[in-house]
């Protein structure tokens, strides 16, 4: 009898554990919709960044992507690598122009749902510029699709700035 009770108890515990896990994963999906954007230590380790710069990169990267996801383009402007955008699109990059550009772009591109980082590498021998190999999941109308935009980070005057650009 004791054995049976014990087995029954163990089965119950496993079921409970499974339920807890299911609830946990569902909660993860709803509460952290852009969890795929996180930069892992593995991706950063090969860059040999000083700890302070690495932490700052992670912090500002997450903020930049969050601004992209929530369409907070005026806030995103403060994290923008303005020279990169100005050079690629020959535009006068003011906050007003940038917000207009992003809003126009959103109509064609759709909204960012998730961004997965595949690889990060330096584009020069210095620490000054990083190229991210990313896959973006985008929603346009009722459908979603995957894209590989250009994503770069620049270290300017001790802080990181980013540029995200879609190609056709």
């Amino acid at each position: 009898m004791n054995n049976r009770r014990s087995n029954s108890g163990r089965t119950l515990n496993r079921t409970q554990l499974a339920k807890v896990l299911i609830v946990f994963f569902v909660a993860m999906n709803f509460c952290v919709p852009v969890c795929g954007q996180a930069i892992g230590n593995k991706q950063l380790s090969s860059l040999h960044l000083p700890t302070a710069l690495r932490d700052r990169l992670i912090e500002r990267f997450n903020l930049f992507i969050e601004c992209e996801r929530t369409q907070s383009y005026d806030k995103q402007f403060d994290l923008l690598a303005k020279t990169h955008l100005a050079k690629l699109l020959h535009m006068n990059v003011t906050k007003e122009n940038y917000v207009k550009f992003k809003e126009e772009s959103e109509v064609a591109v759709g909204k960012l749902i998730k961004l997965r980082i595949k690889k990060i590498k330096r584009t020069s021998d210095s620490l000054e510029s990083l190229s991210f190999s990313v896959i973006a999941k985008l929603q346009k109308g009722n459908s979603t699709y995957l894209d590989k935009p250009i994503f770069v980070a620049y270290l300017l005057e001790g802080d990181w700035y980013f540029s995200l650009m879609y190609i056709n």
Partner: protein, 330 residues
């Protein structure tokens, strides 16, 4: 500031394990080419020459026709001996692997590998069933030739170098060809081409001619890049499968970038191939539609959409170009 880099390279082959099997011809001569003159029948600039198989020419990393290379070298050396010495040096020097590149079957770049990682590059190409490309530098130091001839390397800031004259001419010719191909007033074939994407877009792109006519290749309001190199990942300047691409689709700042592949079309149909590339990019640049908008399936893919546009253009504008444009990402 950096030196302008001119490289005449001869190709060499590797065995599957990356060992050099050697392919250079140790026998060279200093016979100069017969004068081709400037007749109107002169062929379109070619990037290699039957008399110089395996030899390609580049300036600043951009492939250039042999004719252009010759004229540039001769301008600096005041004669044809400079070219002969450069080619001799290219053939005679020991091939050196500069870089390996692996491309997915889709044509997108998987990664670049240093010479020491050539085995890894081979393995990755096998794993992805992709394509492996290896860059060999045969002449890595021909400054001696320059010194012998008293020449100096021109110093040009890479940021300030745009398209060369012959490239600007090729773009202008392609634009002219694209407008002519899709001009509905010229006849039934052109009308068909003009409306190639009308059905596919439910009328959103009713006239290709009106789109491509908005291109301005130079001067005020220029919306085709001037040829300065930009960092654009696997789509960048030297991508072997991307002749052109557009950044900022759907915005008033959209810009079309022309890659070296655009200029590498040669032979019969080269001008039409370039025209079709511009017609395709005009859909993005001025039509505001992305490749993915042309994939009708639920799980959309950029590549499928891009191919649908290109196929519609080939079918309706230039069916003979199907083979020429196969495997390219427009």
């Amino acid at each position: 500031m950096e030196d302008d880099i001119w490289i005449a390279t001869a190709t060499a082959e590797l065995d599957p394990l990356g060992s050099n099997t050697g392919a250079y011809n140790p026998y060279f001569n200093l016979i100069t080419d017969p004068d081709e003159g400037n007749s109107a029948m002169m062929p379109y600039p070619s990037f290699s020459d039957l008399r110089h198989l395996g030899m390609t020419y580049s300036i600043d990393g951009i492939s250039v026709p042999r004719d252009y290379f010759i004229s540039t070298v001769e301008a600096h050396f005041h004669g044809s001996l400079g070219l002969a010495l450069l080619e001799m040096s290219a053939r005679a020097s020991r091939p050196r692997l500069l870089e390996s590149r692996v491309y997915y079957p889709s044509g997108q770049l998987e990664g670049k590998y240093a010479p020491a990682d050539v085995r890894l590059a081979v393995a990755m190409a096998f794993e992805y069933h992709g394509t492996l490309e290896r860059d060999w530098l045969v002449t890595d130091n021909w400054s001696a030739a320059l010194n012998i001839l008293g020449g100096t390397l021109p110093i040009i800031d890479p940021q300030s170098t745009g398209f060369k004259d012959w490239q600007q001419t090729a773009i202008a010719d392609a634009l002219k060809e694209a407008k002519a191909l899709s001009d509905p007033t010229k006849g039934d074939n052109q009308r068909k081409c003009n409306e190639a994407l009308n059905k596919l877009t439910n009328g959103k792109i009713s006239s290709l001619n009106s789109l491509v006519s908005q291109y301005i290749a130079s001067g005020a309001g220029q919306n085709i890049s001037d040829g300065r190199k930009v960092s654009a990942g696997s789509y960048g300047t030297d991508s072997p499968t991307v002749p052109a691409f557009v950044l900022g689709v759907g915005t008033s700042n959209a810009t079309t970038y022309i890659n070296s592949k655009f200029f590498n079309f040669t032979g019969f149909g080269a001008a039409q191939a370039r025209a079709l590339v511009l017609l395709h990019e005009a859909v993005h640049q001025f039509g505001g539609l992305r490749d993915v908008d042309f994939d009708p399936r639920a799980n959309k893919e950029q590549d499928i959409g891009s191919r649908n546009i290109t196929n519609a253009l080939i079918d309706n504008c230039a069916p003979a170009l199907r083979q020429t444009l196969r495997g390219l990402h427009l």
